[in-house]
């Protein structure tokens, strides 16, 4: 059965960020702008909560509308993996602002856009669901 699939829109920015000593500095970082599926829009509060659980020691949030910062792509991917566990989703399709822009350019309606989203090159698969043995596997094991 096809599980819940989510789309994560991220951005690469260099906003001013407050470090632990409340000093402002600029660094290039990834930020999540939105997480949604065809059936739900993930609440920003939920994303912020998970962010703090996972990256409690990291720098403070740069903006209310963006979730982050994530220092590199692997940190962003790990966050998406955790998110999948929490939401019990099967996949996250990640796309940047420029991917989003090119998808918007190519599509005429929401259906076309969804097709393009699920053809994204960046896909995170829920490892727990992926590794979960199927009923028949369990039977033969």
């Amino acid at each position: 059965m096809k599980g819940k699939e989510y789309f994560v829109l991220y951005n690469y920015l260099n906003p001013s960020i407050l470090d632990k000593g409340n000093q402002e500095h600029h660094a290039n970082n990834y930020f999540i702008q939105e997480c949604f599926s065809r059936k739900e829009r993930v609440d920003k509060e939920q994303l912020i909560e998970l962010y703090h659980e996972m990256l409690y020691d990291s720098a403070a949030l740069g903006s209310e509308e963006l979730i982050g910062p994530f220092q590199d792509k692997s940190q962003l991917n790990r966050f998406c993996q955790e998110l999948l566990q929490k939401l019990k989703g099967s996949k996250v399709f990640l796309f940047s602002t420029s991917d989003f822009n090119s998808n918007i350019q190519k599509s005429d309606n929401i259906k076309d856009l969804e097709e393009l989203f699920i053809n994204s090159n960046e896909v995170i698969i829920n490892q727990k669901i992926k590794n979960k043995p199927s009923f028949l596997q369990k039977f033969f094991d």
């Binding site: 920015l13 949604f36 065809r38 989003f100 822009n101 918007i104 599509s107 005429d108 259906k111």
Partner: protein, 546 residues
């Protein structure tokens, strides 16, 4: 036509892209019969309808490419995050927004309105044409679709900045020097955007002068960037749309539900739209039906307060003083938010006096004079004195002294000076001190301040999803006991039962209550209790005694 537009007027948007394939030739029926505007006008006339044309003067979110012909749709408009701007229409189509700062679009638009003007003149069409500015609402602000942060905007903006710099150098203007660079940039970006918007309006007005009747602003419910995610995720909520519809009232813009799917808008949202737009705002905006006859006068918009703000430094004023929060609790839906640049005394204010809130830091000499004139003509004004120009401050003091205007001084959290002249009232306080107060003290402050002005109002206490709005009309010859008649429309757009209570002052009498869908209304001498069933509406008419 009768089925789609049952009223006496039909608003027809003119779609630029529909009339040209290449930008050189324009078709008004020569090739495609459906482009024949003259035929449309005459057919409408046959069934007793009047066509009013709406000409977009920027992106029109309900049209493919937001109205830009395909051969000019090259440069996307972008938001602050660098994302391409677009709108999802009622059928799930993506209407892309292209930069109206692109000189090729302006050139093409000029050419189109030139031919459109020629067509109207040659066919002797005398129908009204209104310019259509489009946008959406976000946190009590109207965001225009013409706003842009793309490279094409930035290129044009840098040229504009150079020009502004030269003007300032030649005139030796230093007015911006005391402002922060961020403020300056925001202000200049806004000015530049407005300048470009006015180019489109001027071009249309010049070419269509005989038919042109000004430009109206429309806010598109479901047309914000957030709405894309809600529409994609099937999370559209009728209550959000309903709120947005009512929020448009406080900004005096005409709401449109064109981007909302038919399935969602049928029922309560459709009724709200009819009551707010078709029956109240549109006739006023079009200058029609203000007076039908003595027995059937139209219910008009009603508000008690006008809050004047300066969009560029909005962050530091009324919000921080807790004014909006107070008004949203005590006087929801009876206040308007306006721009200080539009602050002016109007003659009709004598009939409908409202209390105006002004920030002195936003006043120049011209606006200051308008303020004094409003006070002299019996207007009531609450002025946050913080940041008042020292010269204007002296002028104000000498005006009060020279005219021996009695001023009461009270100390309540800040110094309050209240000057009275006939019907006029001028109340000054120091707003910067209010910003420092706790939220409860802010509420207490506004309560005291506003209680100094007499108002006759029935307060509505309701569950959060309940929406309502007030209208009023003059009493007819059969209603001479009353000064005026007020109509309260209450709606429950949610799928749950909701409660609402109307507190009546002694000056009110209930004239008529129309419940719908078995909603339960219980009337008492000092209050009306209403149980609203899902998707229902109640209309209450109250008479206000003299």
């Amino acid at each position: 036509m009768e089925e789609v537009c049952p009223g006496p007027r039909v608003l027809v948007p003119i779609n630029w892209a529909f009339h040209t394939e290449n930008g050189e030739d324009f078709d008004f029926s020569e090739k495609k019969p459906e482009t024949d505007l003259e035929l449309l006008v005459s057919r409408a006339k046959e069934i007793g309808k009047e066509i009013i044309f709406l000409l977009p003067v920027g992106p029109a979110p309900f049209l493919t490419n937001c109205g830009v012909p395909h051969f000019l749709a090259r440069n996307f408009a972008k938001d602050l995050n660098g994302q391409n701007k677009f709108v999802i229409d009622a059928d799930g189509n993506i209407n892309k927004i292209f930069s109206f700062f692109d000189p090729r679009i302006f050139k093409g638009y000029s050419r189109f309105v030139h031919f459109l003007g020629q067509y109207f003149r040659s066919k002797k069409l005398n129908n009204q044409i209104l310019g259509m500015r489009s946008g959406y609402l976000k946190e009590k602000k109207m965001i225009s679709y013409i706003e842009d942060h793309s490279d094409i905007f930035l290129n044009a903006f840098s040229k504009y900045l150079e020009g502004e710099k030269q003007i300032q150098e030649t005139k030796n203007i230093e007015e911006y020097n005391f402002l922060s660079p961020l403020f300056k940039e925001k202000e200049l970006r806004r000015n530049f955007t407005q300048t470009i918007q006015s180019f489109y309006i001027d071009e249309a007005s010049r070419n269509l002068s005989k038919n042109w009747d000004g430009a109206l602003t429309f806010s598109f419910v479901g047309g914000g960037p957030e709405d894309f995610f809600n529409k994609f995720s099937a999370q559209e909520e009728i209550t959000n749309y309903s709120r947005s519809l009512f929020d448009s009232l406080s900004l005096d813009v005409i709401p449109s539900t064109l981007l909302v799917n038919e399935e969602i808008k049928k029922g309560v949202l459709c009724r709200q739209y009819k009551d707010i737009v078709e029956e109240t705002y549109l006739p006023i905006a079009l200058g029609r039906d203000l007076y039908v006859d003595e027995h059937l006068s139209l219910f008009k918009d009603m508000h008690f307060f006008e809050v004047f703000r300066n969009l560029s430094n909005e962050g530091n004023c009324w919000d921080k003083q807790g004014l909006y929060e107070y008004l949203d609790i005590q006087f929801p839906r009876v206040y308007k938010i306006k721009e200080t640049e539009n602050f002016k005394y109007h003659d009709e204010e004598e009939e409908n006096p409202v209390i105006k809130f002004i920030q002195a830091r936003n006043l120049d000499l011209k606006k200051f004079n308008q303020l004094i004139k409003t006070f002299l003509m019996g207007g009531k004004i609450i002025v946050d004195r913080s940041g008042l120009d020292p010269d204007l401050s002296k002028k104000l003091e000498s005006f009060l002294l020279e005219n021996s205007i009695h001023t009461q001084k009270v100390r309540a959290l800040t110094d309050i000076n209240y000057s009275v002249l006939g019907m006029g009232g001028l109340l000054c306080y120091e707003g910067d001190l209010i910003q420092e107060l706790s939220q409860s003290n802010k509420v207490e402050f506004w309560k005291k301040l506003i209680s100094m002005f007499e108002k006759n109002h029935a307060q509505v206490i309701r569950d959060p999803k309940v929406e309502f709005f007030w209208r009023k009309r003059a009493a007819t010859t059969n209603e001479l006991n009353y000064e005026e008649i007020r109509r309260l429309n209450i709606y429950n757009p949610s799928s749950y039962k909701q409660k609402c209570k109307v507190l009546l002052e002694s000056k009110f009498a209930i004239i008529k209550v129309n419940g719908e869908n078995n909603s339960h209304v219980q009337t008492g001498p000092s209050e009306i209790n209403i149980d609203l069933l899902p998707k229902s509406q109640v209309i209450i008419d109250l008479g206000l005694f003299e």
